[in-house]
Amino acid sequence: MSSQTEAVEAELVGRSPGQLMWRRFRRDRVGVISACVVVTFFALGLLAPVISALYGKDPYTRYGQLDPGLLNQYGYPVKPNGGMDGEFWFGIEPFTGRDVLTTLLYGIRTSLLIALAVTVLAVVTAILLGIAAGYLGGRWDFFISRGIDLLMAFPQQLFFVAFLPIIATLFVDPREETPTYVKVVSIILVLWALGWMTLGRILRGATLALREREFIEAARVSGASPWRIIRRELLPNVVSPMLVQSTYMLPNFVTTAAALSFLGVGLTEPTPDWGRMFSLAAEVYRSDITYMFFPGVAMVIFVVAFNLLGDSVRDAFDPKTVR
């Protein structure tokens, strides 16, 4: 929790809202468990290279082609259950014979990196525009709010699909092959462009309500600059919607980015990516359904844990809400 929140309200309640929130959160067993799951996912993504080194495989080597005994003549794993054994714990990828466990770990890493970058960008944008609209009011409010309305009217997923290749041409000539980092940057930009409005609207509303409160007026009367009021008085008071909303946003970005790869417009071979695994799985599930199992179950666990965490964070900040 931010130290600013504590500093502002410490004298009044004896215990800062941050401490109160933390105490309530610790008592919520579901919240703590889901927080642990979420942390585990981030740790797995972060430590993917370490795990891959310990495990002795990497997500790029085509083991199936190095060892002809692993895949049959149609390109599917010879061993049952997608080729799971002591050496390849989660089996091997059909056709290429890559290791599924490391592919999944690196895929989680890529997805979380993208989602985290988009979340940070979206939160910063929402803070800047939402608070500007709410605090400055007037013409600013009008234009920012109409802009939000307009962006909300866009057919989102279609926008993502349509603009990814176009954003990519900003960086490279369409004649050339698009490098992976350009794809990652374009995915982040496209998701960011339509990802900040919900939070922006919430922050604008919260700022509008806070602007009329006595403590803001007191700060204004005692000569505080608008910048100081925003930084020291407003921001600490909108931390809770910000945190709650970002825990809902992040898994959303993960699944959307995965959907883009699934549709064939996001990340492509050979970059390990969560969504790309689904697009291969959708091709091979009739012959080898095991391949779909691990990325699918991992994603369900991830999304469920994040949603539960979001609910718990919301409850911890605002115990009045009833689920």
Binding site: A153, F159, T255, A259
Partner: protein
Amino acid sequence: MLRFLLRRSLGAVAILVIISAVTFFLFYAIPRNPALLACGKGICTDEQLAVVEANLGIDRPVPVQYWEYMVGIFAGRDFPAGHCPAPCLGFSFRNNTPVLDTILDRLPTTVSLTVGGAVVFLTLGLALGMLAAWRQGGLLDKTMSSTSLVLSSMQIYFLGPLALALLVYNNQILPQPTYVPFTEDPLGWFQGLLLPWLVLATIFTANYTRMARATLIEQLQEDHVRTARAKGMSPRTVFFRYAWRGSLIPVVTIFGIDLGSLFGGAMITEFTFALPGLGRLAVESVTQSNLPMLMGVMLFAALMIVLFNIIVDACYALIDPRVRLA
């Protein structure tokens, strides 16, 4: 009502004009070479590029191009490759046909999929929400709140192939998903779309169950419900005549918000089940880099979403007499 429709239609036209302008600008002004993008990556020869450039009229300034596009919608346009009658949403140089023809060809699939899916999830969501609220805290309520969380966290691209493998290929419980036009064979249409509807609905139902349950519980504590109960009205009548009606409003509200993501969900569903709809058309246009087609689909989807939003808003007045549409 008439004034409301007129006002909303004017607003819708304004939004559509802005969306089309923004989309057009993003498509034709941002890329370094839109003609090359429209012609296709890696496969475009210099002669083809010249043809596409001439057809797109790329040598003129972007605002002029946009103006011609807008005029084309009302008056039709002539391209070197062929004629595009009004309303002309663009001309696809890949198969030399107006974009609108292909869109209208694909439209019934998407409409069947989304409307059918919406019927399934609205019915299921409301019914389950009602049951959960009726016996609040009961076994059904508890199992539903936990399963709905898991089901709503499922992704279509995971659930779709899984359902296909389990229900179609391994057990033959459901027929293979296909699209048969309703006018040709209503039963085949229903059978072919049943699995896609169910998969699409699984993602959305949970949200509506939760919302219906929460608002019903809230409504049951309202004063007018308590009064009705105190006057000796039967619980069933109270439930359906007062509480249920009140709980519809938030459901309609989220439905309006969900329209866009419903279309997005339809896109992934169509792709998963190989149904020839608008969403698949959009993905195909991206992979073949067919810029005019993509522009047409974008604009058409925006039009549909804006139109449906007006319908949803008009529904408010039918449900809640307090809402005045003016």
